[in-house]
């Protein structure tokens, strides 16, 4: 390949601008900037929360005050002024909507720009969409279909009002409020999020999906998702994000908790495309997320699949606590970083139950000036007899100014378990490129082909409806090189 040509492609890759940058003008109701107990009381009051939740928030806030921002990740995080963030923003008009026609047309327009047409989705793909616009849920579709099965799928605030007993029982059971700095912050100020409960023995007929959007400049988003799969149930849950272009950094500290009881299976898929900042590394979202699943009962299974293309800084370690005997945890990830993006992401698998199994497949792609790190922990406790882990984390480097790092931690305290970890780091091989070109495939398409093939193992784990979106986002991030 001509070097010039290759450089051109890499230039394109590193210079593509964020496509989904636009701001929707909808009137917002916002709290004053800053964080203190009064603000927390204000949020709680606004949302008409029960006493236990306010207590929980305050406990978390007090814990948060004693904590320090984590500094162990391979990230350069500019100092964050937590007093300069608006912790509550809600669309002002909030009346009961009976049909999609009543939804703010401008909001619908926003979704259309993103390629998510509520009508289309409702009619064609059979996906129930709980669209979270900034912090408050606007519209839930398919709830009637789900209701028939006894499935609860609503915004977190609604769950607090309608199912406080479930919220009280499970919230914080997987990610306690004192788990880490950002989880504590989220527990104190979480705005809204999704709640899902699948009753005993129910196989959710549709794939549940939530699209997150960050709007209103200067609003930190503190989503909280709680997913409970009761005995013998199954659910596939999808979460996708795109955010408008902004120069000011925005903080996103979400918490996702999954509880899988006996024989339950949860498949959680994410396509994450927060605004990564412009090509000089200005702006962009800070994505500090705590995601964790607990395989509480025996034979339960939690599977994480993520495609990460966005965020200026990503700090995210979806993990599984394999508490029940014979439970299974899986983690599939493709993380793409470009320009000045930084990602420190990976998975934690904590084996506690007997015969537990976990798989980690992580594919990192770094381009431009970015740094992409995999950080994982596989811990086998004494009790976890006959446990098995297989981890593979590969890194692909596009360009000589980026970095790819691997930090796997393996701790075992058991003599009947097997842990395997392997990783490679390389660039796209000249031979592969040459082979493609030889067969008349141009460089651009060849790189696309190779990168796609490289990520295939993970992409194939995504639900059908999501796979298209994921590939779209991959091509936005690596514009010019992915066909």
């Amino acid at each position: 390949m001509k070097e010039e040509e290759q450089n051109n492609i890499l230039d394109e890759v590193t210079q593509s601008d964020y496509k989904y940058g636009f701001v929707t003008d909808i009137e917002m109701e916002t709290a004053a900037k800053g964080l203190n107990e009064d603000i927390i009381r204000y949020i709680s009051m606004k949302k008409n929360e029960p006493e236990f939740l306010l207590e929980y928030r305050l406990r978390a806030y007090r814990k948060w005050l004693t904590m320090k921002e984590p500094d162990w990740a391979h990230l350069k995080i500019p100092p964050i002024d937590y007093q300069d963030i608006i912790y509550y923003a809600a669309p002002k008009e909030k009346k009961e909507l009976s049909s999609l026609d009543e939804v703010d047309p401008e909001l619908l327009e926003t979704f259309n720009k993103l390629g998510i047409s509520l009508e289309e989705q409702k009619r064609l793909s059979g996906v129930a969409v709980d669209a979270v616009f900034d912090s408050v849920s606007v519209k839930t579709t398919f709830s009637e279909t789900l209701e028939k099965q006894g499935i609860i799928f609503c915004s977190f605030s609604e769950a607090v009002q309608n199912h406080p007993e479930l919220v009280k029982k499970y919230m914080g059971s997987v990610v306690p409020y004192g788990d880490n700095y950002f989880a504590a912050l989220n527990s104190a100020v979480f705005s809204d999020g999704s709640f899902c409960y699948i009753p005993k023995g129910v196989k959710c007929p549709v794939e549940l999906s939530t699209y997150f959007r960050i709007n209103t400049a200067g609003t930190g988003q503190f989503e909280r998702t709680l997913l409970i799969a009761d005995e013998g149930s199954y659910v596939s849950y999808m979460e996708g994000c795109t955010a408008p272009q902004r120069d000011e950094n925005q903080l996103h500290a979400a918490v996702v908790e999954i509880v899988a009881l006996k024989d339950a299976e949860v498949k959680y898929s994410t396509v994450q495309n927060w605004y990564p900042g412009d090509k000089d590394g200005k702006g962009g979202i800070y994505n500090f997320v705590t995601k964790r699943g607990m395989c509480k009962g025996s034979h339960s299974k939690i599977s994480w699949t993520q495609v990460e293309t966005g965020s200026a800084i990503t700090w995210k370690y979806p993990g599984c606590i394999l508490l029940g005997d014979n439970s299974v945890g899986e983690f599939y990830s493709v993380a793409v970083t470009n320009n000045h993006q930084q990602a420190d992401t990976g998975s934690k698998m904590i084996h506690i139950g007997k015969n537990t199994k976990s798989t980690i497949i992580s594919k990192g792609i770094s381009a431009g000036f970015s740094n992409n790190s995999y950080r994982g922990l596989v811990k086998i406790s004494k009790r976890a007899e006959n446990s098995r882990n297989y981890s593979q984390c590969d890194s692909l480097l596009l360009g000589d100014k980026c970095g790819a790092h691997t930090f796997p931690y393996i701790n075992t305290a058991n003599s009947s378990s097997i842990v395997e970890h392997e990783a490679t780091t390389s660039k796209i091989s000249e031979d592969q490129l040459f082979y493609c070109q030889q067969r008349g495939i141009d460089t651009e398409n060849a790189i696309g082909l190779i990168v796609n093939g490289y990520a295939k193992e993970v992409l194939k784990q995504l639900p059908m409806e999501f796979a298209v979106e994921a590939q779209k986002l991959l091509s936005v991030s690596l514009e010019g090189s992915v066909g």
């Binding site: 086998i380 000589d400 691997t406 796997p408 393996i410 075992t412 842990v419 970890h421 490679t424 390389s426």
Partner: protein, 470 residues
């Protein structure tokens, strides 16, 4: 009753000892070294001992090591050990130059440095400072980093003696140089040595570093070794550790590789209470090659921590790491590999492998193979496993009429053999091979010292594994 010691008291004690003996400690120093000593001491005062809150030390807790009152020797002892004892160190069929450190001090009748016919200089570092101050100053503490941790700073502040080896340009030493660390005291001793090894352009050096205990007394050794390998030089380095269960050894080695040089380092840990081997390898010139291997066999309450940091500072370099270990009883085995490929270090080839066999539920294995890569035209890989003996292989052997115990031994030995076979000096390989077998059979006592073939009676076994069949 003995006062219960801890890191704070120990630090206080060392600080007052330093101030009290400052003159004696540095009587030999050049101006540069003296300034360095003070600087290092200040650093130690500031940072203190490493603790488990520090990422690099999270799996190695020194609390129990600091719980004792150690003595520090500021001058060589008058009494001499049984010289015969040391010269029993001769390995059968293995002709070496033996030099020894006795309780932390260079051991010889007269203090003079030995100059071999080919120009190689061997001897005490303290003496080398006197005789070749320029040569020593050029390399002394140029590769070690007192800011790496408190123990490095402490060593730099206190170290008075150690081994000095200088191989001039173009000289190949065919005879292996064997360094024996002998600890033989009735009290608890804290020893800090600093070794300096300089290998000239296109020179060749093979050296074997043995750490042995001669009794069951508690000891704490903190050694820093600097090895400078000039252009085109080849260095084979072997470490053989067979210490008693109450000894602690913190071993930090800095290898600096110039253009086209080659290093092979092989650390065999047979026994020891708490051992931490840290190798820092800098590939500072193009086309350097570093092979770092290790084998560790731990049981009882033992703790082994192997750490390797390979810094690919230049392009076209290769590095290869292989560490294998067996953890039995309540033992802890830690592996931490770090490969750093700097920006523009293109055409790097680096691999890292750690394999562990965990025999009991009470043993713990921590493995962290870590890659940090800033260049794109590289081939880097790492792999880590923790597992057990292969049931099917075991069954196969048993089905051939070999008992369970022997079958297990055979498999464990085969597991270890991959590292042993990397030893290029044949006599040494055979010897270590033998020791590992003994160790696996549980017959290696500390009086059955690694290279000391003292008073070991040949035992006959009902079933001897025929290794030729492996």
């Amino acid at each position: 009753m003995e006062t219960k010691y801890n890191d704070i008291l120990f630090k206080e004690k060392l600080v007052s000892l330093f101030n009290e003996h400052r003159r004696k400690i540095g009587f030999n120093d050049t101006g540069q070294m003296s300034a360095l000593r003070d600087n290092a001491f200040e650093t130690f005062e500031k940072t203190g001992f490493p603790h488990t809150k520090i990422e690099d030390w999270r799996n190695t807790n020194l609390k129990n090591v600091f719980a004792h009152n150690y003595n520090v020797l500021f001058e060589a002892q008058a009494d001499k050990p049984d010289i015969e004892k040391i010269f029993q160190c001769n390995i059968h069929n293995f002709d070496t130059h033996i030099i020894a450190l006795y309780n932390g001090w260079y051991l010889s009748e007269d203090k003079h440095l030995i100059t071999l016919p080919n120009g190689t200089i061997i001897g005490s570092l303290a003496q080398a400072v006197k005789e070749y101050p320029e040569l020593v100053e050029k390399h002394y503490n140029k590769y070690a980093d007192i800011n790496e941790n408190g123990l490095i700073a402490l060593n730099t502040a206190f170290a008075q003696d150690g081994i000095f080896i200088y191989v001039p340009d173009g000289v190949e030493t065919y005879k292996t140089i064997q360094i024996v660390n002998i600890l033989d005291r009735d009290d608890k001793l804290f020893i800090q040595n600093k070794n300096l090894i300089i290998v000239g352009k296109n020179a060749k050096l093979t050296f074997l570093h043995c750490d042995d205990s001669y009794n069951y007394n508690r000891s704490f050794t903190n050694t820093v070794t600097e090895v400078f390998i000039d252009e085109g030089a080849v260095v084979d380095h072997y470490k053989l550790q067979n210490l008693n269960d109450s000894s602690a050894l913190i071993n930090t080695t800095y290898f600096h590789l110039e253009k086209e040089s080659k290093l092979t380092s092989n650390a065999i840990t047979l026994n020891g209470g708490l051992i931490r081997n840290k190798s820092n390898v800098i590939l500072a010139g193009k086309k350097g090659k570093a092979n770092i291997y290790g084998l560790y066999l731990v049981d009882k309450e033992q703790h082994i921590d192997n750490r390797v940091f390979v810094d690919h500072a230049e392009s076209d370099c290769d590095s290869d790491e292989l560490f294998k270990g067996i953890a039995d009883d309540n033992a802890t085995a830690v592996f931490n590999g770090h490969i750093l490929v700097r920006k523009d270090s293109q055409k790097t080839n680096a691999s890292q492998t750690n394999r562990n066999i965990q025999l009991t539920d009470k043993a713990t294995v921590f493995s962290k193979p870590f890659l940090e890569i800033y260049a794109d035209d590289v081939k880097c890989s790492h792999g880590a496993t923790v597992g057990q003996l292969d049931e099917e292989a075991l069954f196969y052997i048993k089905s051939r009429g070999i008992g369970e115990y022997d079958a297990k031994l055979l498999l464990l030995y085969a597991f270890a053999a991959k590292v042993i076979n990397k030893i290029s000096v044949e006599a040494l390989r055979e010897n270590i091979d033998d020791l590992v077998k003994k160790r696996l059979r549980g017959e290696l006592a500390i009086c059955d010292m690694c290279v000391l073939q003292c008073k070991t009676q040949e035992k006959t076994y009902e079933f001897e594994i025929d290794l030729s069949k492996i």
